[in-house]
């Protein structure tokens, strides 16, 4: 398993190379000149040209890439064109929000998705199953931005229970109670994904419950709840674990929308704003980190898969 993990980490290198080239090329395909955007409407063509030269944006694309890549290898993601601070610093500023948001969202997905899925499968065909499946279908279909706006309307504007936007750091005044700023965004983000997990847990459990070995388990005289958890859910978990990789990918893209709707100072919003500002180094840095993260999550999913299913061998 250690050898496998190491091998998988090695494949990270070519993937990152390919991803960085693609990202670099696509960003430069976007029309618009960063120097012009930075200097604003009143800038003269001479000033723009001077700044372009200063930023090194007049050089051929491949030279820019090689330069950037050399710096990345030495751990330097460059400086933000907009903030004029190191890209790593800019990303670190948004990381707290995004990491806490992601953790809280994953918490909701697991806490809601798995038990409701199990209940739904155990009471298949009854009103309980119909209600849970109905809600799961509904939440899987609602767009994130729409749900976010309605949650704000109900819980912030209407009831005044929770804040509607922003997120002060947990190290600021208020400490961990500031997490309440993340409740609505994380629920918004969790809803469609938890709904998918509910449906997946339900359908895989129903598939597994038809298998012969479940009848064997019942023939031992075990309590139905034990059969449902130890023999049906445990085997259904194999399919569910694989889905968590996709869920993570969905979270990244949906976080962009959610952070924008709730004005959260996270990495998702940073990407959107950096694209609007043509802040190339920040975009490249963030995407590079997302690629690494995504590959790590997939590695974890594969390891979990092998751990859950002894028939899968890592080699």
């Amino acid at each position: 398993m250690i050898a496998y993990t190491f091998k998988r980490l090695l494949t990270l290198v070519p993937t990152l190379l390919a991803a960085s080239v693609l990202v670099f090329l696509f960003i430069h395909l976007i029309p618009g000149d960063p120097a012009a955007i930075l200097l604003g409407d009143t800038a003269t063509p001479e000033e723009i040209l001077a700044l372009t030269r200063e930023l090194g944006l007049d050089r051929p694309l491949w030279q820019q890439y090689v330069l950037w890549f050399k710096n990345v290898l030495s751990g330097d993601l460059g400086r933000s064109l907009f903030f004029d601070t190191p890209v790593l610093q800019v990303i670190a500023d948004g990381a707290e929000t995004s990491i806490l948001l992601a953790l809280l969202t994953m918490f909701w997905i697991v806490i809601l998705g798995i038990p409701i899925g199990i209940v739904s499968a155990s009471y298949k065909g009854t009103w309980i199953d119909q209600v849970t499946s109905g809600f799961a279908m509904l939440f899987a279909s609602i767009p994130t931005f729409w749900l976010g706006l309605y949650l704000i309307l109900i819980f912030s504007v209407g009831l005044g229970w929770l804040p509607s936007s922003g997120f002060p750091s947990v190290s600021d005044e208020g400490g961990w109670t500031n997490m309440r700023y993340l409740i609505l965004p994380s629920l918004t983000l969790a809803a469609p994904n938890a709904a998918l997990i509910i449906r997946l847990v339900r359908s895989s459990m129903l598939d597994v419950s038809r298998e012969d070995h479940v009848r064997t388990a019942r023939s031992k005289g075990l309590h139905p709840a034990r059969v449902a958890i130890k023999h049906v859910f445990r085997n259904a978990l194999i399919a569910v674990a694989a889905a968590f990789g996709f869920t993570f990918a969905a979270l990244i893209s949906e976080a962009v929308v959610t952070e924008t709707v709730f004005s959260l100072p996270g990495i998702g919003r940073l990407v959107v704003q950096s694209i609007l500002r043509r802040d190339y180094p920040v975009i490249q840095g963030v995407i590079l980190i997302i690629v690494v993260l995504y590959m790590f999550v997939n590695l974890l999913v594969d390891l979990a898969y092998a751990w859950l299913d002894p028939r899968v061998s890592l080699s």
């Binding site: 298998e211 012969d212 070995h213 009848r215 064997t216 388990a217 019942r218 023939s219 031992k220 005289g221 075990l222 309590h223 023999h231 445990r234 085997n235 194999i238 859950l308 299913d309 002894p310 028939r311």
Partner: protein, 346 residues
């Protein structure tokens, strides 16, 4: 109650003289399948007995209701559209059909256990075989994991798994089909059951492995004195292993007897058809003596004898009245012409 006589005769057939309480006594068992709001009978008025340390073979074509009968006895029909509509199943002095779910579960896997047809899929792929054997032991005997493991190891040795102390920590996919069936047998024997039900235990195995598994079952029966119900569609398997045979057709027992008498006399035309459809080993045959026609659909059972449309001996009488089982010592045949036909070569 069309076969009141059949019941009384039925109980005498397996134990003609003994006054012993049978271990298992099935009385007028009726099973039906829920189909589009209607109950369609699949097993009709079934009665038989099994004494302690006897082996009863149930033989019949697919769809004759043999598997459903044992699943009903075992209590594994819940959650399926099939249910017992009437009858009694006495086991060890209790009517199983009157027990609560919890009481039934305390018997399942303990007093009574079952081996299934498909060894490849009947074990949970994600648990080690040792853990799967231990699960039932710990559930029923409330012993420590260590004691259960010792017992599991003994069981694996008993069913002749080579290198049992290593194999105990293997997963099902690391074993062959024959070995998995041995593990299933070990699992079924875990709590020293009084009754072992084996539903086509060798059908999915190679012929050579089949013989080994049957020998193992016979050996276990000799050692432990467990009563066995062996289901098969293969008369050869039944002849090899069972003291008593019941032949099922369309949800009824059409003939039952000691194995010896059954093969000597072949009272029912259906049993005869089954045996004649086995190709002879030592002569060339161009045609197999298959039984003409098909098993009738459950919703279109013929009037009178259910075998009558396929029977070459059928007369007007067979098309009107269902035959009453005739007793001949321990031999019951549900046929109007059983007396005339028995022993006669066709």
């Amino acid at each position: 109650m069309r076969y009141v006589t059949a019941l009384t005769l039925g109980s005498r057939m397996i134990s003609p003289v003994s006054d012993n309480q049978p271990l298992l006594r099935v009385e007028n068992l009726c099973i039906a399948i829920q189909n589009a709001g209607q109950l369609q009978p699949v097993v009709r008025d079934l009665s038989f007995e099994v004494q302690a340390s006897q082996t009863l073979g149930i033989v019949g074509e697919s769809g004759s209701g043999k598997s459903l009968t044992v699943l009903a006895i075992m209590g594994l029909l819940s959650g399926s559209p099939v249910r017992v509509t009437s009858g009694k199943v006495w086991f060890d002095g209790k009517d199983l059909l009157q027990l609560s779910d919890a009481e039934r579960r305390s018997i399942m896997g303990d007093g009574m256990s079952m081996i299934f047809q498909e060894p490849m899929t009947s074990l949970n792929p994600v648990y080690k075989i040792g853990d799967q054997i231990m699960e039932g032991i710990r559930h029923h005997q409330h012993c420590s994991a260590k004691e259960a493991r010792t017992r599991a190891l003994q069981l694996l040795e008993k069913v002749k798994i080579p290198d049992a102390s290593t194999r105990i920590d293997h997963y099902p996919h690391q074993l062959s089909g024959g070995q998995r069936q041995r593990v299933m047998i070990a699992m079924a024997l875990a709590c020293d059951p009084l009754l072992l039900i084996a539903d086509e235990p060798t059908t999915a195995l190679d012929v050579t492995v089949q013989k080994e598994v049957l020998d193992l079952i016979a050996e276990i029966q000799q050692d432990t004195g467990t009563a066995i119900i062996l289901i098969s569609h293969d008369l050869g398997v039944i002849a090899q292993t069972c003291n008593f045979v019941a032949v099922m057709y369309c949800g009824e027992i059409v003939e039952s007897s000691t194995t010896e008498k059954l093969f000597q006399r072949l009272g029912h035309p259906y049993t005869r058809g089954l045996i004649e459809s086995i190709p002879p080993l030592h002569s060339d045959v161009e045609w197999l003596n298959a039984i003409p026609g098909q098993v009738p659909a459950l919703n279109a059972l013929p009037v009178g004898c259910s075998y009558q449309p396929r029977c070459s001996h059928a007369q007007a009488q067979c098309r009107q009245n269902p035959p009453v089982a005739l007793l001949d010592d321990e031999h019951i045949v549900r046929c109007h012409f059983a007396q005339q036909l028995q022993g006669r070569a066709s």
